[in-house]
Amino acid sequence: MCLAVPGRITAIFDEGVVRMAKLDFGGITKNVCLAYLPDAVVGQYAIVHVGFAISLIDEASAQETLHHFRSLGILEEELGEVADEVYSPPPSCPLPTSSLQ
């Protein structure tokens, strides 16, 4: 269960009895219910599930986790490729971003 994705709060407003926010998910924008994050402010990232912001992202913690990941295996560099057969990456990988905005 529980497909939930992070988006950035770009506006906060009231709709009827409910506190709402506009969230940017990187190219698309959706209005979601903010009732459960009363302290959220514009600019923060929140996790959204079925139209509800249910949790703020702790950005420091996220950076810490990423830092931890990056440090993994630093000591034992070059484990070698895991796959026994290497698919030669196509010339366009990583993506040409020319017109993909």
């Binding site: 269960m1 990187g26 190219g27 924008t29 990456p89 010339p91 366009s92 990988c93 040409p96």
Partner: protein, 359 residues
């Protein structure tokens, strides 16, 4: 012989007609527009004919006689039922041209003529029908195809959805053109002509209950000039396919099954616009299953892959082309993707339509 009595009434006079203003008496389609009588004839005389064959007062009859520049032809049909009828990047009218032109182009044919069959729902605003018809005419003009005959039916309110449009099309092929799914050969390389999922997500963004704001526009476009450019550079294109309904995954599955080969896709190589990717994440959809209307998949011999890529990228409709996979001997009949982690997953054909999910 001169006569002073009143001529057939010209309620919908060409002079007064200016798209998108409604036809004069009925601002909406009434059942009589499909009755085969005067109202039907007026739609042809004052809307369809000026749009599709301006200046030709005898065009767009029930059937037509043509002399083709060759007797080897490609022939196809498609009905378009898209909602909304007008969407970011096109309308059902332009889509109906592009879809059929592309089906012809995918066999390597030069698209020549189309037929059009309208099923219009009683009550459709005349102004909207006019916008759609003119967009369709523009698309045909730009694609260089002629709409040669047509048919109009009106169905009762509650038995349609604005308008459904069927187009059939004929294109001509040279004798030496042999493009088909069965020609996919182990070692061949799979290319896509640009970003995937744009059309499907542009439509989804307008769907009741799922609406979101986005800059995504449909990629709806006629691809025959792109095919022409590709074939000029790589005469021996093995397979072409426009990954429409069901998306890239369904098209490649079909090719794998038809040719009894395996196809291995490199997921990281798939060109996907960030907004499309984001919309798919939010709704729980896989862009591989999302429809495209202005993209082609090409399968070419490995030694022609880079030439093909350059040829595609040199064309305005192929700037984001990419090599996305290869034809393999393993797992015949199956489409497999190498994931971002370097692992593999089998990509099956979906049962029905992909729906947003929470899990």
């Amino acid at each position: 012989m001169t006569t002073t009595v009143a001529q057939q009434p010209t309620a919908v006079s060409l002079d007064e007609w200016s798209c998108p203003l409604p036809l004069r008496d009925y601002p909406t389609i009434v059942m009589g527009h499909g009755g085969g009588g005067q109202l039907s004839a007026e739609l042809v005389t004052h809307l369809f004919r000026p749009a599709f064959a301006p200046g030709d007062t005898s065009a767009l009859t029930d059937s037509t006689v043509l002399t083709l520049p060759g007797s080897r032809i490609a022939y196809t049909t498609d009905t378009f039922v898209v909602q909304p009828l007008e969407f970011p990047g096109g309308t059902i009218g332009s889509l109906a041209v592009h879809g059929t032109v592309n089906d012809l182009a995918m066999s390597g044919a030069r698209p020549l003529v189309l037929t059009v069959g309208f099923v219009i729902e009683e009550g459709m605003p005349m102004a909207q029908l006019a916008r759609i018809v003119h967009d369709m005419a523009r698309a045909a003009r730009e694609a260089g195809v002629r709409i040669v005959c047509g048919d109009t039916k009106v169905v009762e309110r509650g038995h349609g959805d604005g308008v459904y449009i069927n187009t059939s099309g004929i294109g001509v092929l040279d004798d030496d053109v042999h493009i088909g799914p069965d020609r996919a050969t182990v070692g061949d390389v799979v290319l896509v002509s640009g970003s995937i999922g744009d059309h499907g997500m542009a439509i989804m963004s307008q769907r009741e209950g799922l609406e979101f704001e986005t800059t995504i526009v449909s990629d709806s476009a006629a691809l025959h000039t792109l095919v022409h450019a590709l074939r000029a550079a790589v005469p021996d294109v093995h397979v072409l396919r426009d990954p429409t309904r069901g998306g890239v995954a369904t098209s490649l599955n079909e090719i794998a099954a038809d040719a009894n080969v395996g196809i291995m896709l490199e997921e990281r190589a798939l060109p996907i616009r960030p907004a499309v990717r984001a919309a798919c994440e939010v709704l729980g959809l896989d862009p591989l299953f999302v429809a495209n209307e202005g993209k082609l998949l090409a399968i070419v011999p490995a030694d022609a892959a880079n030439t093909a890529l350059s040829a595609l990228r040199a064309h305005a409709l192929g700037v984001d082309a990419a090599i996305i996979g290869e034809v393999v001997a393993d797992h015949p009949g199956m489409l497999v993707a190498r994931t971002g982690l370097g692992a593999r997953r089998v990509i099956t054909t979906p049962i029905g339509e992909q729906l947003p999910r929470i899990c």
